[in-house]
Amino acid sequence: MTKRNHVVVIGAGPGGYAAAFRAADLGNKVTLIEKDSVLGGVCLNRGCIPSKTLLHLSKIIDETHSIKKAGIEFSGLNVDMGKIQSWKNRVIKKLGGGIKLLAKQRGVEVLHGSAKFISDSSIMVTNDKDESITNFNQCIIATGSRPNSLPFVSINHKTILDSTSVLSLKEIPKSMLVVGGGYIGLEMASVYSSLGTEVSVVEFLPRLLPGADEDLVDILHKSIKPKLKDILLNTKVTSVEEQKKGIKVEMESEGEVISSIYEKILVSVGRVPNTDNISIESTGVNIDDRGFISVDEYRRTNINGIFAIGDVTGDPMLAHKATHEGKVAAEVCSGTPNAFEPQAIPAVIFTDPEIAWAGKTEEELKNGNIPYDKAEFPWQASGKAISIGRTEGKTKILFEPESKRVIGVGIIGYNAGDLIGEAVLAIEMGCYAEDIALTIHPHPTLTETFSNTAEVMEKTITDLYIK
């Protein structure tokens, strides 16, 4: 019996389980440590998957309203929150079971319990039943992140919620204040406003979704505004107090004090890395002052044999980034040269309409004083968008000026998230405007808007008249 390389992966989220499975497939002995009783991490259990399950339902409700003008009307809306929750839990359970099976098929040892490093080559796993020490040759830290809070607010998960507890409400609240106009806040605002909650959003910065391009956010702002009670920008929450009638929230906007009462509030003000609860100091791995682990292109930390992937390594905190990093780390662990060198990482906000982008944003290019060319295609000119009554959208491509190589793409509109994949491929492959314009896209689909936009750049567009 030859002794196999022992790789320990901490955290079974989308990054961790991908790393564990890839490492096992490459012949390593793999132990996957997970603090929850189920696999899948935040993404599956209290993030991407449950939120998208709920968003799908809210989208259908919205669509039943919007097709009234086309002559279809349903009478009455009956929402059974209990059934919704059990539907959502079935989705999670199904996917979680799938991961468990995949681990078993590969012979990956799964340990449930909290992990604490003892040294740079051993780790202790503790659960209700026992305590065990595991030695490793290599370790991949994939402990992810958790919701951040405000210093003067204590999350009680009943009336004051975070991104986890907001997914498990048993009843539809009458009113809700979403603190933080980032993607999690807006996605949850979409869900509950569709279910009938009177939702307000408060954001400290002058606009929603900092990081996304303003022209895209403006379109979203216009379309969600009628569904929400208030969108308070440039507004700071100064106090949160539980009262009998509900939660009293005081806010300050340009010197003016606003005070309101809400049944629930959701605090969605970013995420913090889980590096403070694994005794990372025992390893000597460097973390920065915000708690993130610094890694190189191979996802190696400063300590030989210890890797880190996903949210713990910093922005963008996205499941698909973590998955790719996990595979890179597993391959490097196994002596296969690979590196994390994406040309673009897509980001999607699953509001309705969705916003998706990849590569450079216009704002990044402007801030960096990088010259670029831009072409846009308004969805008002898309046959598919008109036929489904969803013309509030646009596709935008940013090009390197001389060569017209694609360097960034931004899309807002129905199913934008499903359209962005092609843009990521275009950036990875170094496509030029002409490559996209000459690629036949099926009609009538929303994917056509991508080639139409390239045609605008190439001045070969016939679906618009541009003088």
Binding site: E214, P337, E363, G368, N369, R405, G430
Partner: protein, 453 residues
């Protein structure tokens, strides 16, 4: 002098904390180089430079609050021509020019020859601009240990294809003594296509040692299996080819290099440029050239039919450099036309590039004879392996003081053991002994010139 100020960061973002200042006074600034990292409530932001130049003043430090239009630094713009990243030699300050002149003087002691102007050294850092290719080609380059930014793309607008990477690696390795042969590369190409990389390579590289692989060493204790990268595996195969196909003989000799060593110490003492490493090898090269000029068939190759030798009228000397990734052999071209100073500077730069894994194709191809020096490490004599299509390789060991019987007395001398391995199909034993004898004489005679100083 020009000031750089903070650009607009987006609506309403001002009075932001500086998390890190990544430059300091005196740094030369490149375009797009990140100067500052800012910390906003939501994210950290990198602020790149739009200009090139040398920083003369910094207005900010870590922890400061900064708003758009605030000054960050003052810099001295410089001419942004294509030579902007060129060698240290072109940008050396006054005192270092003096010191280089010193090198020239010392060199004149050994050989009076007008030194040629220095050729411009190509930039060693490739531009960080986008390389037009696909993700799978990037990965293939990684697997073959090849820096894709060095590969010239053959496609439209310089697009790098898989074939470009493979032919680059092939060319690189076929001019490298430890390289992969064309057949091996074809196998790599083939297994790329079949997706059966490991199986084929294992077969390729372990054909003869299969019986070793079958032994279960863990029966007798703990073992650890450490995989060789694919290039190293194929390299081993090529070494086997060189060893089994060339009838090679090694001739040993010793030379008294007491005088040469003095010249070397003298030059080393005068060199104040830390970028340039002075070693004994350029002295060996200078002397070796004279010897090769008397024995031109040591600078030849056997043709493929084996019925003629091709004598090269240029002397390109490969120097084996030990790096983290393994053995590499950069080549100094046209040594017969170069001064000691030029060879010293070129070797020093090639060695740096080798260690930084930045050698280009041009740096390693076209060698006509190779030098391998273990003098810095130790050992008394060794038998280097001829690097085909070359026919000779020199091995220099560690020089040591010995008592030598000379003029009826024992005198302390610095003795350099060296060896010559040659292809017996091209060179016969008597010729080889004449070659080493001449080389010994030349190495030993440097002391006479040293006295003139």
């Amino acid at each position: 002098m020009i000031d750089i100020s903070l650009p607009e960061l987006g609506e309403g973002i001002s009075n932001v904390e500086i998390r890190d200042v990544l430059v300091k006074k005196g740094d030369s600034l490149k375009k797009d180089q990140v100067i500052l990292i800012l910390e906003t409530d939501k994210a950290s932001m990198e602020i790149p430079s739009e200009h090139e130049g040398v920083i003369s003043k910094l207005y900010v430090k870590t922890g400061d609050k900064i708003s758009p239009k605030d000054k960050i630094l003052e810099f001295d713009p410089k001419d942004n021509t294509s030579e902007s990243d060129s060698s240290v030699i072109q940008n050396i300050p006054e005192n270092e020019i003096d010191e280089i002149k010193e090198i020239e003087k010392t060199e004149d002691v050994i050989e009076t020859k007008a030194s040629l102007p220095l050729p411009p050294t190509p930039s060693t850092t490739s531009s960080q601009s986008h390389i037009l290719t696909s993700p799978s080609t990037r990965k293939l380059a990684r697997e073959l240990g090849c820096d894709i930014s060095l590969v010239k793309g053959s496609g439209e607008k310089g697009r790098v294809s898989r074939e470009d990477v493979l032919s680059y690696v092939n060319r690189y390795l076929s001019s490298n003594p430890t390289g992969i042969g064309t057949d091996d590369l074809k196998s790599i190409l083939k297994d790329e296509i079949l997706g059966m990389k490991d199986d084929i390579l294992n077969e390729l590289t372990h054909q003869e040692s299969k019986s070793v692989n079958d032994i279960d060493f863990s029966k007798w204790g703990l073992i650890e299996t450490s995989p060789l990268n694919k290039i190293k595996q194929a390299t081993g195969n090529n070494m086997t080819n060189a060893w089994t196909t060339i009838p090679q003989v090694t001739q040993f000799d010793n030379a008294n290099i007491s005088g040469l060593y003095k010249s070397y110490k003298n030059l080393k003492g005068k060199n104040l440029n830390p970028e340039i490493k002075i070693s004994l090898i350029p002295f060996y090269i200078k002397i070796l050239i004279k010897v090769i000029q008397s024995f031109p068939n040591f600078n030849s190759s056997l043709n493929s039919k084996g019925d003629a030798i091709i004598i090269k009228k240029y002397i390109n000397i490969g120097v084996a450099v030990d790096t983290e990734r393994g053995l590499v052999v950069p080549v100094i071209k046209n040594c017969e036309k170069k001064s000691l100073k030029e060879i010293t500077i070129e070797l020093s730069k090639l060695a740096t590039k080798a260690h930084d894994n930045r050698l280009s194709m041009e740096d390693i191809e076209g060698g006509t004879i190779t030098i391998s020096s273990l003098g810095g490490i130790g050992g008394s004599n060794f038998t280097p392996i001829v690097n085909p299509p070359q026919v000779a390789i020199l091995g220099f060991s560690k020089a040591e003081y010995k008592l030598v019987y000379e003029k009826e007395d024992f005198i302390k001398r610095l003795i350099l053991p060296f060896s010559l391995t040659y292809d017996h199909r091209v060179i016969d034993g008597a010729q080889a002994a004449k070659f080493t004898t001449k080389l010994k004489k030349q190495l030993s005679s440097v002391k006479l010139i040293g006295k003139n100083k």
